[in-house]
């Protein structure tokens, strides 16, 4: 079964861990580079160029990390579920590795979003935490990530872990909108007139630029880190294959 004989380009070619490993290795520096550049420019604009908010003063500047992390946390869960679907539908092992590699980063971004949210909430709302619809659903998203990671970690057989966690990711992604809307409904019922963040003032163009740059930086960082994780996962899983031994220079 050698794919090298066919010259025709095929996506399946890179679905094999062996061919994906060197490709991922070549891509990581590029994504990491873009992440660092965008992150530095974004932070510079966010901290030094963007105007001071007339209501919140300087404290709003944490938004450039907070909002970008919150976006990524939700986005990654959806991508993870898409990879889980690909894995279940087509039995591509690489898709499972991608899903498994995305989960820790997603959980970290969820945590960062909650943490920076608390730091932002203290000076602006006067409290570290409110049971607001967004905060609560973000917290539940963290629980979903933790459940996924624990299930994956608890099952030793990689095949079973892959299938079970893929199914859980699908059940989770079906439930995320239901959870979000029920939390929203619950929140409007409980808190009549509390802090409303939906009526945010229109953002200055520089703020938006910084935010978009930070999101790109986080996105590229995610890709770079996920590729690294997949690479080490490939090496672990294929540790008995000859090409791995040649790759790491063991030989014997």
């Amino acid at each position: 079964m050698s794919t090298e004989t066919t010259k025709e380009f095929s996506w399946y070619h890179f679905a094999s861990p062996r061919t994906f490993y060197p490709l991922a290795g070549k891509m990581i520096p590029w994504f990491a580079g873009v992440a660092v550049i965008c992150g530095l420019i974004g932070l510079y604009i966010g901290f030094f160029v963007a105007p001071t908010d007339y209501q919140q003063g300087e404290s709003y500047r944490i938004m450039f990390i907070h909002v970008a992390a919150a976006w990524m946390s939700m986005f990654i869960y959806v991508i993870m579920a898409i990879y889980a679907t690909i894995y279940l539908a087509m039995n591509v092992r690489l898709a499972d590795m991608m899903a498994g590699a995305l989960a820790p980063t997603g959980a970290i971004f969820t945590f960062v979003a909650l943490w920076t949210g608390a730091l932002w909430g203290k000076p602006t709302w006067g409290t570290w935490w409110v049971w607001d619809a967004r905060l609560t659903s973000e917290l539940l998203l963290l629980f979903l990530y933790l459940g996924y990671l624990s299930l994956r970690g608890a099952i030793d057989d990689p095949n079973r872990a892959a299938k079970a966690s893929a199914l859980l990711a699908l059940v989770g992604v079906v439930n995320v909108p239901i959870i979000y809307f029920s939390v929203k409904w619950w929140n409007t019922l409980h808190q009549g007139a509390s802090i409303s963040m939906t009526k945010a003032p229109t953002m200055a163009a520089t703020m938006l630029t910084a935010l978009i740059l930070m999101t790109i930086a986080f996105w590229m960082y995610t890709i770079a880190v996920v590729l690294m994780r997949v690479r080490s996962d490939i090496l672990t899983r294929e540790r008995d294959a000859t090409w791995v031994l040649e790759e790491i220079g063991g030989g014997k």
Binding site: L140, F143, L144, L146, G147, S150, L151, A154, I155, N159, R160, K163, A164, L167, L168, L170, V171, G172, V174, N175, I178, I179, S182, V183, W185, W186, L189
Partner: protein, 222 residues
């Protein structure tokens, strides 16, 4: 089709009746958890009335979750589950029957016990009525969603705690609308919206979860 469901339910009920302590444990757990709240929070009836529906609902979630371990594990240990997998009947149907039996053995007793606990926590009779109705609609959904988690964690080390981590976040909507209905009736508002939504959840869960749990069982038994 119907006869196989009836036989499965009958079998599970019979097995449970031979060892009634299993069924009683989760019911006692439910009662004990609820009765800890007056000790921990406050014996004031005013305070208790405010939190009563939430306390009873959360206790019901925990009691259901604790009993989920039993759903497949006994059949898994004695090999019956393998027979179910190779049986000519669709596995999802067998799973559904097992879940129905599970609800009859754990969910229904909770529903029947709830009014008594409501009285203990000083709830108004109207609120108790609505709470029982929400539990009646909600606890089957808890068993149905839980069956997916029970199937996924079958035979996994640390399965019990893991199961709670997987399942409890998914229980949130049921909890919200279950307690929301009770609060609505206490505020003299209609409860149709919450009851309809709980009914919708039940209909959806009846359609999808047996199928997902059957897929999870096949993964776990490979």
């Amino acid at each position: 089709m119907l006869s196989i469901i009836r036989h499965m339910i009958w079998r599970d009920m019979l097995l449970a009746m031979r060892r009634p302590q299993d069924v009683m444990t989760s019911l006692f757990f439910f009662v004990i958890v609820v009765s800890l709240f007056p000790l921990g929070v406050s014996p004031e009836m005013e305070v208790l009335r405010e939190i009563a529906s939430g306390v009873i609902w959360v206790a019901a979630l925990l009691a259901t979750m604790l009993s989920l371990n039993r759903l497949f594990s006994v059949d898994y240990q004695d090999g019956t589950l393998e027979q179910m997998l190779i049986a000519p009947q669709p596995l999802s149907l067998l799973v559904l029957s097992k879940v129905v039996a599970h609800w009859l053995l754990t969910g229904l007793p909770l529903v029947l016990m709830a009014p008594l606990l409501g009285v203990l926590l000083g709830m108004e009779s109207e609120a108790i009525g609505v709470m029982v109705l929400t539990l009646l609609l909600g606890t089957p959904v808890l068993s149905l969603i839980g069956s997916i988690g029970a199937a996924l964690t079958l035979g996994v080390r640390g399965g019990g705690v893991l199961l709670s981590l997987l399942i409890l976040p998914l229980y949130v909507p049921i909890l919200i609308f279950g307690t929301g209905a009770v609060e609505s009736v206490r505020a003299d508002m209609g409860v149709e919206a919450q009851l309809s939504l709980l009914g919708a959840f039940l209909a959806l869960a009846l359609g999808f979860t047996p199928w997902a749990a059957a897929a999870a069982l096949r993964i776990s038994m490979e």
